[in-house]
């Protein structure tokens, strides 16, 4: 027979003066192919319509539904209840500002990150609508896309000890973003320019390399490789700077 699932869900509505942070219990009968998306919506529709959480694509592609699921940051829509024990504890992602219950403000955090990393192609070239596109090796395109797959869910930030201690730490998602532009032949920034952004304790030298980030990334981005790659590149750049090169 199907299980009765017990959910312990973090509740707090900062807009309600009477609300205090607390855990609330909900019980729900498990159904076939149930995901946390299905479960949370049923709880909201059937038991407590004020429950706040974020879903959008419900298909693991938009990154909206990051939360801490039994102690581990992950995408809720991507989590099948049958892979979880009968008692499920859900908390909002730390580091990000709480909006209410399980909903956090990832949008502001990531927009700030775009500005810090100048997350766009830097080029002097003008677009010419009459001309053929500039050629690119397909291998380059594929490698860029590999890193572009980040859905900005924030799981890697929430899992990172450094990011939790220091709110000026860029975090794996931002470092990965820098790597994405670094390997893009269209971006004319030099290694020195990148060094300005990440060659410090807020950036690559603040990373302790324990790789909680890669562990939780739902898109399985090769964060370990990228962090290593940046550390080497920036290490060399920093040596060059030391010797005035």
């Amino acid at each position: 027979m199907s299980r009765l699932l017990k959910f312990n869900i973090f509740r707090y509505n900062p807009e309600d003066a009477q609300s205090e942070p607390h855990m609330q219990e909900f019980v729900l009968e498990e159904t076939d192919a149930m995901t946390l998306f299905i479960a949370l919506n049923r709880i909201r529709e059937e038991q407590d319509p004020s429950l706040q959480f974020d879903f959008c694509c419900r298909a693991g592609i938009c990154g909206s539904c990051g939360m801490v699921i039994n102690g581990r940051p992950g995408l809720a829509c991507h989590t099948k209840t049958k892979d979880l024990p009968g008692e499920i504890t859900l908390l909002p992602l730390p580091v990000f500002k709480l909006v209410g219950d399980l909903s956090v403000d990832t949008g502001s955090w990531f927009r700030e990150m775009y500005t810090k990393t100048e997350s766009w192609i830097h080029t002097e070239k003008e677009f010419d609508p009459e001309a053929l596109e500039e050629r690119m090796d397909n291998k380059d395109a594929v490698s860029i896309y590999e890193l572009e797959r980040c859905v900005e869910c924030g799981c890697c930030i929430a899992a990172c000890g450094t990011a939790r201690m220091r709110d000026d730490f860029l975090g794996a998602a931002a470092l990965n973003r820098v790597a994405r532009f670094l390997i893009d032949p269209r971006d004319q920034r030099s290694e020195k320019d990148y060094y300005e952004i990440i060659g410090n304790d807020m950036g690559i030298f603040g990373c302790m390399g324990l790789l909680a980030c890669e562990d939780v990334c739902p898109k399985h981005l090769p964060l370990q490789n990228q962090l290593g790659f940046l550390r080497r590149k920036m290490g060399i750049t920093s040596l060059k700077r030391l010797f005035g090169k």
């Binding site: 694509c57 938009c62 909006v99 209410g100 596109e133 900005e152």
Partner: protein, 617 residues
Amino acid sequence: MQTIYTDFLVVGAGLAGERAAVQAADAGFSVICLSLVPARRSHSSAAQGGMQASLGNSVMGEGDCPDVHFEDTVKGSDWGCDQEVARLFADTAPIEMRRLAHWGVPWNRVVPGKSIYYKGGKQFEKIEAQEKEGLIMARSFGGTAKWRTCYTSDGTGHAVMCTMDNRCAQMGVEVHDKTEAVALIQDGETCFGVVARCLRTGELRVYLSKATMIAAGGFGRIYPNTTNAVICDGGAHTMCVNTGVVPMGNMEAVQFHPTGIVPTDILVTEGCRGDGGTLLDVNEKRFMHEYEPEKAELASRDVVSRWMTHHMREGHGVKSPYGEHLWLDIRHLGEEHITGKLREVYEICTSFLGVDPIHQLIPVRPTQHYSMGGIRTNKDGAAYGLKGLFAAGEAACWDMHGFNRLGGNSLAETVVAGGIVGRKIAEYLEGCETEFKTSLINDEVKKQQARIDVLVSCANGSENVYKVRRVMQDALHKGANIFRNQEGLETCVAELQEALVRAGKVGLRSDGKGVNPELAVALKLEGQVKMALMVAYGALQRTESRGSHNREDYTARNDRDWLNRTLAYWKNEGDTLPTLEYEAATEVVEIPPGDRGYGKSEIISADTPKDAGKKGK
């Protein structure tokens, strides 16, 4: 009350909204995009397949040009589109793809030499030309003559969305996410901006602008089963419906996608069939080639969806606890291809179904997918009915899709239309002086606050918002689905009218404080039911079959009486039905109505005399 002023306000930060925003920002105007979610989470990011543009770099696209793309689009629309707009689109698409490459999209590129591809389950070989090396590659996609779909692996929408949002960040376009527009500020002639609800605090906020654009995407969530994201609920359309003066075009034109997975309705891309995936029935036998000998699985989506439903009705469906379905088979494409080019599909199957598509079949059925209908605009993107109001992307009925849009054409539309309409808006802003009337603004805010108060205090009743929404969705599902007929549509309209009465009596069960999600649903429900009625009533009146609109009792396409576009208004608040008006489908005719070359070809041509008419039963 916080009031924010900007030259150009965009409701929506998906591809269409941000593309237009970039264009206006480039011309020196201040721009703010509103969005329910951070821009990159917009539903554009979920499009896996790709964007059509006739670059003709692949050997399989040799000889392609805007003319061929235009022809495919018009045929695809079943001659329901505005041909001037379709032409504008086909001509501009290649330039937009190159522009995106310049801005940073990692398009897959041509790799010269031999490679293998699949069609209809068989293996073929192609040789890409040396001189095309490194140019933008294309793949095959349903309903097109050539390989024309530009892609980045299977995350095209995501990759283009990232680039576009990067460009916005670079240009200083502000995106106010977690902000929901709830009403237009307008006086029946001009639009002055919107009243919005902040989804961080629950407070109302006023946005004033000289030009306002709706780029809020589709409204699939008025159906119970849809591939659309949960935020594609038509909330922004309801703002226009509620003005009484802005018409919705062709709301009855709803597209169903052949391959939504069962049970969650998540889409698996058309690329699966494009790359050679096949459809199988309960006996694990192919069937599409029997109905469509030439195109088989690659016929346009309305044709494939229709035959799938037909085949299941004939008793060849696979029974499951979630209803009947068919199988999609991609096993023969091999592990490398499935975990490479089709990785998202692989992930969807393993994570949400527990199915391994390298070795197992994928359960699929047709499900609501795309809204051809929407806010009717002219070719410059200006909405009918209100000055200063524009629309683009899936939210709009610009109308290059008519009664059926081709796979890969809508993602391309977002950037093409975004660019064209953005340019027109910049021109409009150039010579624009606007006076904002405080009384008008205050009245609209008061009206919205009053609606909220009524819902929170249950002053009109205490109907459960989720239950009434369900009634609306089920009515559409039963009556206004792939196959339609008079009886079903009449029942549907009656059920929706009842739902409309109940929607007026909704009261919240929770306290409505802060970012209350129940309140957000309740605020748009009445408007959604009105839209559902536009779909059903428009479909009931349209006594022909065209594109995705299939009447079992009027099976022919009727160019004599119905070569036109429905314009649906909700003229008075107390009305129980929309008011329907009609306009010619297209002023400019490059390709006169004819046979599509696929699907059934029963046509009542414009010169058929009246009484020879009805072919229906």
